[in-house]
């Protein structure tokens, strides 16, 4: 007699069959439904130090986290170099050749576009980063072609993202030398949580330049109240005190 063990093995076959069926059903349903919202791996251009981070991002389903860390890296790369230069001049007692921070954020930053684009390659839903990158490239570093390239990439995976379209339009108007239209295009973004402070600052500056001091003051007040970036907050407060005199007059 073969024994209970053999009989048990035969009885167990329906279980195994049910397991395979259920696993197949789950896999098939997932295969049919799931469409990745992310760029394919071939589009991820890994900057000099970053392959390991990207691997972890994909392996642990932590794209957003690593996109955040890349964003922090971008901000560190962009940093506050110009303002630091102004402070160094002040400490040394000489301001010769110093722009006093007026040329806010200008500079070379050759890796800015690859770093900014990399954030969107990892997480195309990181709209703030896309707007920040495009805004910095277009309006601070004056590399509008790169800004447009970044926004075009963002629109590929977020085609309904109107904020990208507005900033594209603003860049177009900026190239055409129409600051009022630039401010008009940026205006709807100001209330959005994803609006980077640099675009707010640009809008305030354009309003001030056009003589709309009240509107500029409102935006500077918003920056001072909501931003955590010390440089922008300090600048906003400075501008507010200047504008206070003008609006009183």
């Amino acid at each position: 007699m073969a024994g209970a063990a053999t009989a048990g093995r035969a009885r167990g076959l329906p279980l195994l069959f049910a397991a395979l069926l259920a696993w197949g059903a789950g896999g098939f349903a997932a295969y049919k439904e799931y469409r990745s919202p992310f760029p394919p791996p071939g589009e991820i251009h890994v900057p000099p130090q970053g392959a390991a981070g990207d691997m972890f991002a994909l392996a642990f389903g932590a794209r957003r986290v690593f996109a955040d860390l890349w964003f922090v890296r971008l901000m560190q790369y962009y940093g506050t170099a110009d303002l630091s230069e102004h402070e160094a001049h002040a400490a040394g007692g000489s301001h010769q050749g110093c722009s006093h921070g007026a040329d806010f954020g200008g500079g070379n930053y050759p890796l800015f576009l690859p770093l900014a684009r990399h954030i969107l390659e990892i997480d195309p839903g990181f709209v703030s980063a896309g707007l920040y990158g495009a805004g910095a490239l277009a309006f601070n570093i004056n590399r509008t072609t790169e800004a447009e390239e970044l926004l075009a990439y963002g629109l590929r995976y977020s085609p309904k993202e109107w904020k990208y379209l507005n900033v594209l339009a603003a860049i177009g108007y900026s190239k055409a030398g129409n600051p009022a239209a630039v401010a008009e295009q940026i205006q709807p973004l100001l209330k959005e949580p994803e609006c980077p402070v640099m675009l707010k600052q640009l809008s305030a500056f354009l309003n001030k330049k056009a003589g709309n001091y009240a509107a500029a003051a409102v935006i500077y007040a918003d920056i001072a109240a909501t931003s955590h970036d010390a440089a922008y907050v300090e600048n906003a407060r400075r501008e507010l005190s200047r504008l206070a005199g003008r609006t009183e007059k």
């Binding site: 007699m1 073969a2 024994g3 209970a4 063990a5 048990g8």
Partner: protein, 245 residues
């Protein structure tokens, strides 16, 4: 004729350990046939590796026979009906140290199908029966070896089984604890429960059992009734030594 509580018929158990090429086979028990009458205390003696624990596990459905059949009150041991009639005490039972004995018994009582008031009463009765009531508020970590063994017995008694299968119930206990356990088992048997216990201690088996099975290298060498060993000059020990030589 007394009904059989346990019936082994031509039972063989071979353990296979797969290797890269082929497998290593070890025959734990072979050609094993015996009956344990209901209501008796039957002992199982043998040297280490004789197959005693294998038999215990075949009885409780933890192992499946390679050949032959095992029956518990006429039922297959791996079935739920048979298991409801069996209370098992393995050698050196383990309980989570940080809980109290009542909590451990409550868990095993639920697994035996008890609940609510019935469970509470059964747990209290088991603690009292095994002399653990004074220690009910202690954590199991504070229990001595004898107390742990009693707790093991208590969990086996929860669902009032008809058959108690005890693997080395007095292993490592002091003489007083052994005496208490023996008295407890005699009391349980007096209530009509069948007890099947394995042991290394010939003297304990002699004092408690009405029959003894002697296992030698996986085979049943001898079945000895009380009358036989009481009549033998050297008692059960001499019969055992003769059987295993």
């Amino acid at each position: 004729m007394t009904a059989s509580a346990v019936s082994f018929s031509g039972v063989e158990k071979i353990f296979r350990r797969p290797r890269l090429l082929g497998a290593i086979c070890h025959t734990a028990v072979q050609d094993l046939s015996f009956d344990i009458p209901a209501g008796e205390i039957t002992g199982l003696l043998g040297l280490n590796g004789a197959g005693k624990t294998t038999i215990m596990k075949l009885l409780t459905g933890l192992l499946f026979p390679t050949a032959g059949s095992v029956r518990i009150f006429g039922l297959p041991p791996s079935g739920q009906a048979a298991k409801a009639k069996v209370g098992f005490l393995p050698e050196l039972p383990y309980f989570p140290p940080q809980i109290k004995p009542g909590a451990a018994l409550a868990y095993y009582g639920r697994l035996s199908g008890l609940s609510g008031k019935e469970l509470a009463l059964a747990a209290a009765a088991a603690l009292e029966r095994t002399g653990l009531e004074p220690h009910a508020d202690k954590c199991i970590a504070e229990f001595s070896k004898g107390m742990l063994q009693r707790l093991g017995l208590a969990q086996a008694l929860l669902h009032k089984p008809d058959l108690l299968v005890l693997d080395e119930p007095v292993s490592g206990l002091d003489p007083l604890a052994i005496h208490d356990i023996r008295r407890l088992l005699a009391g349980l048997n007096a209530e009509g429960r069948t007890i099947f216990l394995s042991s290394h201690s010939i003297s304990d088996v002699e004092k408690l059992c009405g029959r003894v099975l002697i296992m030698v290298r996986g085979r049943l060498a001898k079945i000895v009734a009380r009358a036989e060993w009481e009549a033998a000059p050297g008692g059960l020990e001499s019969i055992f030594v003769e059987a295993v030589k």
